[in-house]
Symmetry: C2
Subunit: 156 residues, 2 copies
DNA sequence: CTGCGATACATGCAAATGCATGAAAATCAG
DNA sequence: CTGATTTTCATGCATTTGCATGTATCGCAG
C-alpha cells in the first residue's frame, strides 16, 4: 500500500545518500593524506581550483561561496589568507559596490597547476581501479543529475 | 595510443570524483541548513548515528574514527563533549588497556532517533525527486563499490 | 623476561570555523 | 526622492579542529 511505498522510497533515498556520503569520506581521507595537501588545505585548493576554471578570470566571492562547503565568514578569511600568501588578488566589483572580485595571481595559478597534477594522480589511482570506465561515466551522470536537481530547488 | 589513453582515463577519474564531490557539497549544504542540525553538528550526529547502527552497542573509538572525517584528536574531543552532554558513555576496553569503548545512552539513542527522522525526511525530499528509484539503486551500488575498493586498498 | 617499536587515546596550543553583528551599497515601496 | 529592507562582505568572539606531543599499553624480537 501507499504508506509502505512512501516509507520504502524514503529509506532508499536515505541509503543512497548514506552510500554517497561514505564513499566521499573514504576517498577524501585518502586524498587528504596525499602530499598534494601538505601546504594547502583542501578547501584552499578548492578555491584555487574553482578560480582556475573560471573563464573570465574574475569571480565574485559570492558565487564562490555557493561552490564551497564553508560559511561566508570562513570563506572571507580563507580568501584573506590566500591573498596574504600572494596566491589571489581581490578587487572591488565594478558594477556592485558591495561585491568583491577574486583572481588567481600567476603564482596562485602555478601552484594550482602543480597541486592539481598531483591531485589528479592521486584521484586516478584511487578511482581508476575501483570502477570501470562505463561505471565512472554513469556515476558522473548520476551525481551531476543529483547536484543539478538539488541546486535548482529553492531553499525549502 | 597508450599515452592518450592513460591521460583520458586519468581525466575521467578526476571528473568523476569532481562530480561526486560537488553533489555531496550541494546536498550537504541543504541538509546542514535544515533544523535537524540546529543543536547537534553534523559530525556529532554522524557519531550518534554510527553508534546506533552498532549491533553490539559498544564501539571502539578507533573504529569510529575510520568512519568519520575527523582527526583522531578532534574525535577524542567531540566524544568528550557528547559524554558531557550525557549522550554517550565511555568505558575502557576490557581486552585492550589502551582502547576506549563507546555506547549511546538512552538519551543519546532517543536524540539520534529524533534527529534521524528529521534527517531522513530532508534527505528524501532532496534525493527522492532528483533521481528515479532505479537510478538511486545504481548510484548506491556504484558508491558502495567505490568505497569498498578505496577502503580495502592499503595506505599507498 | 627484557627492551623497542607500534598503537590507542588524551592534551597543549595555534589555527580555522561559525554565529552574531556591523558597515556599506543596492533594491524596493510609496 | 526618501526611508525601509535586503544583499554583500568584514570582524569580534567563542567553539572546534588539527598538529605535535605525551602517556600508557600492546606486540614482537632476541
Amino acid at each position: 500500500m501507499a504508506g509502505e511505498d512512501k516509507e520504502a522510497r524514503s529509506r532508499l533515498a536515505a541509503e543512497t545518500w548514506e552510500s554517497l556520503f561514505r564513499a566521499q569520506v573514504a576517498v577524501m581521507r585518502k586524498l587528504q593524506a596525499g602530499k598534494a595537501f601538505k601546504n594547502v588545505a583542501i578547501t584552499e585548493y578548492d578555491v584555487l581550483f574553482t578560480l582556475s576554471r573560471c573563464t573570465s578570470g574574475w569571480l565574485r566571492l559570492n558565487e564562490l561561496n555557493d561552490h564551497v562547503l564553508l560559511s561566508q565568514s570562513s570563506l572571507s578569511r580563507l580568501v584573506e589568507r590566500l591573498e596574504k600568501r600572494g596566491l589571489v588578488v581581490r578587487q572591488p566589483a565594478p558594477d556592485d559596490g558591495r561585491g568583491v572580485l577574486l583572481k588567481l595571481t600567476e603564482q596562485g595559478a602555478a601552484l594550482q597547476k602543480e597541486i592539481g597534477r598531483e591531485h589528479v594522480r592521486d584521484i586516478s589511482s584511487l578511482v581508476g581501479p575501483a570502477l570501470t570506465a562505463a561505471e565512472q561515466k554513469e556515476l558522473q551522470r548520476l551525481t551531476d543529475k543529483l547536484r543539478n536537481a538539488v541546486s535548482a530547488r529553492p531553499g525549502k
